[in-house]
């Protein structure tokens, strides 16, 4: 049974791509299978876990819920497009590493994309804004506190001297935004 395909055009991580896609294929399938960009992950496929989060025209979306044809003409950013072409990590990527916001790493591409979108909207997010902005991204390893700290570090816009990553109290309400990283560090 020959499958019908539809031609679409996407800008993926800055590169213009023309592809013929099956009308029922999701953006996630097209990214992972047609374009072999496997950084975006597959888990629940019902929009609950956030492992597949990408940015479409700047908005964070669950790529498992979007049909590829719906994204026709869109500008798509995936985790592969965060670092600069020379391989330099984006501040949010570096911050995830610095703060220990990575365990098994499977949820991390999605977390990074949500964090990226959050920072675009709230350059200096409060703890509440971070909790809400990241609520759609499950992490079973549960490095949530470290992810929050990473968002704080990226928001502060500097790579702090991490010499003092201590035993870490996370005083909830007080641990927001740009102050986050500095606070966790001087224990």
């Amino acid at each position: 049974m020959p499958q019908t395909t539809l031609p679409i055009q996407l800008t993926v991580n800055g590169t213009r791509r023309r592809i013929a896609v099956a009308p029922h294929h999701t953006l996630l399938e097209v990214l992972r299978e047609d374009l072999r960009l496997t950084g975006s992950k597959e888990c629940c496929l019902v929009g609950e876990c956030g492992a597949c989060t990408v940015l479409v025209d700047g908005w964070s979306v669950d790529a498992c819920l979007v049909l590829a044809v719906e994204a026709d003409g869109a500008d798509v950013l995936t985790v592969e497009g965060l670092a600069s072409p020379d391989g330099r990590l984006a501040p949010i990527q570096a911050a995830f590493l610095d703060q220990g916001g990575v365990q098994c790493g499977f949820c991390i591409p999605g977390q990074l994309m949500s964090a990226h979108a959050l920072l675009a909207e709230h350059p200096h997010p409060t703890r509440a804004e971070i909790e809400e902005g990241m609520a759609g991204n499950l992490c079973r390893c549960a490095c949530y506190e470290q992810i929050f700290a990473a968002i704080g570090q990226a928001a502060a816009g500097d790579a702090p001297d991490l010499g003092g990553l201590g035993a870490g109290a996370h005083a909830g309400g007080a641990r927001a935004g740009a102050k986050t990283s500095a606070e966790g560090l001087d224990q």
């Binding site: 629940c44 949820c107 971070i130 499950l138 949530y144 990553l165």
Partner: protein, 761 residues
């Protein structure tokens, strides 16, 4: 303060971290193997069924469908496997025994064609009565889950009780008859929960020369190799297991599941076959055993525990997997980290028509610790003794044989309890409406073990470490690199750690029981020491000294004169023009002990104390965790950040089964909440308002530099600490998990419940 430079006790960036933030890390489902076909499981939507006929003809007529593999296509009698009992068929034969038990595997050119094919397979079946509760499984007329012929010598073969584990010392009845005791008896339930690793399980197999290659998201590649070799009658050397780093595992990926079916399909077709489970299928592949426990504990008037009488029924599911070991090992230390003169623990592993349960962080301990620690809390309340004081009164001190004939107390556990109490402000008044609870937990570490490591010190002073551990997020790669860097005097980024390929990496028994830092860590250390011995010979020859006048340690060569040489200098001179390398071999063996009920005393105990401050919204039953303090005895934190992440991860995972997670069944035993929409795990909105983790470090562990295993401890005590805090806040005791808003609200409406069989003598 912990540095970031990669030294022992520092917290460098995770080894392998960069690929995890760029998307370059290849998990199994990300691998593309040329010519791979796609597989889909065929199941029937009931808990228990008799399979009358499977007709694959309609499926085979569909485009792209290559194979409908059923029990009839496999060698007869049906090959079975399992880490404990060889009771699990490669595909269901005659009967399905749990919802999700596959009756066939459809293989097609594309994933979609495989799915369409699976939907087109016609299965004639008759739904049979299913047992999915302890009471149902033990009823006189209960259908037998397992064919008695699978255990012909077992006197329990005509029941659903697979095994009964009894641990006892002292005389419980005599102790209970003592005068003046306060005896508290309570019943508790712990729900069925699932691992929910964000990476669903995935498998691939391909013919490989005269043998077979298998890819799996497995924690124990060598064990899988053995399983597949046994089923295919191939020598181990012809079965190559690739185990890419799992995307979270938590015990759920320890043992083979559908790899054997995929192997048979690949060998039959002569092509690679891949099977990536959906999350819903993963929910039907792994879970934690639920548990119903009865605890009867006697206290003297000054708060000493006079006896524990504990019964626990674990509902393990349809096949044994490793669950009988979970029950036996998990219940063994159920009397807790206390000196108790009389103890009786009876734990049963009960078969049921439910998803086979398996290892899950905590390995059977959280279920029973919930019951025992809650009972201690209730006893303390009745006696009017403070919950911390009652625990300190009974707590084992270092060297105490609190479990006779077992490893004695191996840590300054009191320090952890005092630290947790101090951090939660136990002696300070609680804010109005808040309540506090505290609980302790122990878990036995590995009882046997065998890990080999090879370390190669290359000509430029960089090193490659081979370790068969799986890095599933716990950070084993980083810790092994830190050990090698320290011993061989190399910067951390000059050390590469190779894992996950049984053709290249030497044998490791398994990645479980928080063993890897201790057992594989010691093997890596021994391999480095092997290299150091060779460097010593080299240095002595170079300097014209006696070997006795040279020491190599901590990354340096030291001469008797006091002079120190960098290892690299000695190495370059010693290897000469041809270059080459020095290879070290390390082995860490923990033999089984004949006669020990667990086949060996644990290498260490994981000890944790958790204290929680909570508040309940009386209108909604919503629980807010204001403060969550978790303190573990880790011996020595080789990497403090990773220790903290493991403890926090375990703590938050513990909040899952405490507050929200459970399978919900319909009347026929089907799971109603398969998948992420209806099964909730903690998100960024469910965190404690303040989470604090601390480690007690006295360098008194058996691992490198005095380390102990850790990563499960912080999960053991979450439920009892949270329930005690809720009771403290509201006066209401709830003895069934999870403490969902509905359950809490109902309990608040009903008011304080009197104990079920309490009394004073």
């Amino acid at each position: 303060m912990s540095a970031r430079d990669g030294t022992i006790g520092s917290s460098p960036n995770r080894v392998g971290g960069i690929d995890r933030v760029t998307g370059a890390q290849r998990y199994l489902a990300d691998l593309s193997v040329a010519d791979a076909l796609h597989a889909k499981l065929v199941t029937v939507p009931v808990a228990h069924a008799r399979i009358d006929r499977i007709d694959g003809s309609a499926a085979l007529a569909l485009p792209g469908v290559r194979l409908v593999l059923t029990a009839d296509d496999l060698p007869q009698p049906m090959p079975r496997f399992g880490p404990q009992n060889v009771d699990r068929p490669v595909l269901a034969t005659g009967e399905t025994k749990y919802q999700g038990d596959p009756v066939a595997l459809v293989v097609a050119d594309t994933k979609e064609e495989a799915e369409a094919g699976a939907a087109a397979v016609r299965v004639d079946y008759e739904a049979l009565p299913a047992v999915f509760t302890v009471a149902g499984a033990l009823a006189a007329d209960a259908p037998l889950v397992q064919d008695p012929s699978l255990r012909p010598k077992d006197p329990r073969r005509e029941t659903n009780v697979l095994n009964e584990h009894v641990v006892a010392w002292g005389d419980v009845e005599a102790a209970a008859a003592e005068h003046g005791l306060t005896i508290v008896e309570r019943r508790y339930t712990f729900p069925m929960v699932t691992h929910f690793a964000i990476e669903p399980h995935a498998f691939m197999a391909a013919p490989d020369g005269d043998g077979v290659a298998v890819w799996s998201t497995i924690q124990h590649p060598n064990w899988l190799q053995k399983t597949i070799a046994g089923l295919t009658r191939l020598p181990l050397s012809r079965v190559r297991v690739y185990a890419p780093d799992p995307g979270g595992a938590f015990g759920g990926k320890q043992h083979a599941k559908y790899e054997p079916a995929v192997v048979f399909a690949a060998l039959r077709l002569g092509r690679p076959v891949r099977l990536v489970l959906t999350l819903e299928e993963t929910f039907q592949a792994v879970r934690r055993a639920s548990c119903e426990a009865r605890v009867r504990t006697g206290f003297t008037s000054d708060g000493r525990i006079a006896f524990h009488d504990i019964e626990a029924d674990y509902l393990i599911g349809a096949y044994t997997d490793i669950a009988d070991r979970v029950v036996g090992k998990g219940s063994y230390p159920a009397a807790g980290p206390y000196n108790v003169p009389a103890v009786r623990i009876v734990a049963r592993a009960i078969l049921s028509h439910t998803v086979p349960s398996t290892a899950f962080r905590g390995f059977g301990n959280p279920q029973i610790n919930w019951a025992v620690e809650s009972t201690i809390d209730e006893g303390a309340r009745e006696l009017g003794i403070d919950a911390v004081a009652v625990r300190l009164r009974n707590l084992a001190r270092k060297g105490d044989r609190f479990i006779p004939f077992d490893t004695p107390c191996d840590g300054e556990w009191e320090q952890a309890v005092r630290k947790a109490a101090e951090l939660i402000g136990w002696d300070q008044p609680c804010p109005p409406g808040h309540g506090r609870g505290i609980a302790l937990g122990i878990k036995s570490g590995p009882t046997t073990g065998l890990s080999y490591s090879i370390v190669r010190l290359l000509a430029d002073g960089s090193a490659v470490v081979y370790a068969g551990t799986s890095d599933m997020g716990q950070g084993a790669r980083t810790v092994f690199a830190q050990i090698a860097a320290h011993e061989l005097g190399a910067p951390l980024d000059w050390v590469t750690v190779a894992m996950g390929d049984t053709a290249l990496v030497p044998y490791d028994q398994q990645t479980s029981a928080s063993r890897s830092t201790v057992l594989m860590g010691n093997a890596v250390l021994a391999a480095c020491r092997d290299i150091q011995a060779k460097l010593r010979t080299m240095a002595a020859a170079q300097q014209g000294l006696d070997e006795a006048d040279v020491t190599v340690a901590d990354g340096l060569v030291r001469l008797a004169s006091g002079r120190e040489l960098p290892i690299r200098e000695v190495l370059t001179a010693g290897l000469g023009k041809l270059g080459g390398e020095i290879t070290g071999l390390g082995e860490m063996r923990k033999e089984a002990e004949a006669g020990h009920p667990l086949s060996g005393a644990p290498a260490f105990f994981e000890f944790n104390c958790t204290a929680i401050e909570a508040e309940v919204d009386a209108d909604t039953g919503d629980v807010t965790i204001h403060r969550h303090v978790t303190v573990s005895d880790v011996g020595k934190a080789l990497n403090p950040l990773q220790v903290r992440m493991q403890d926090e991860g375990a703590a938050i995972m513990g909040l899952g089964h405490t507050l929200m997670e459970h399978y919900i069944f319909d009347e026929e035993g089907r799971i109603r909440n398969l998948g992420a929409i209806d099964y909730r795990i903690p998100t960024s909105m469910d965190l404690p308002r303040e989470l604090r983790s601390e480690a007690v470090e006295n360098a008194d562990g058996p691992g490198p530099y005095g380390s102990k295993g850790m990563s499960e401890g912080a999960l053991l005590c979450v439920a009892p600490a949270a329930a005690a805090a809720i009771r403290d806040a509201t006066g209401v005791a709830i003895r069934d998990l999870p403490l969902t808003p509905e359950r809490v609200w109902r309990a608040l409406q009903a008011g304080p419940v009197p104990g079920d069989a309490e009394g004073r003598r």
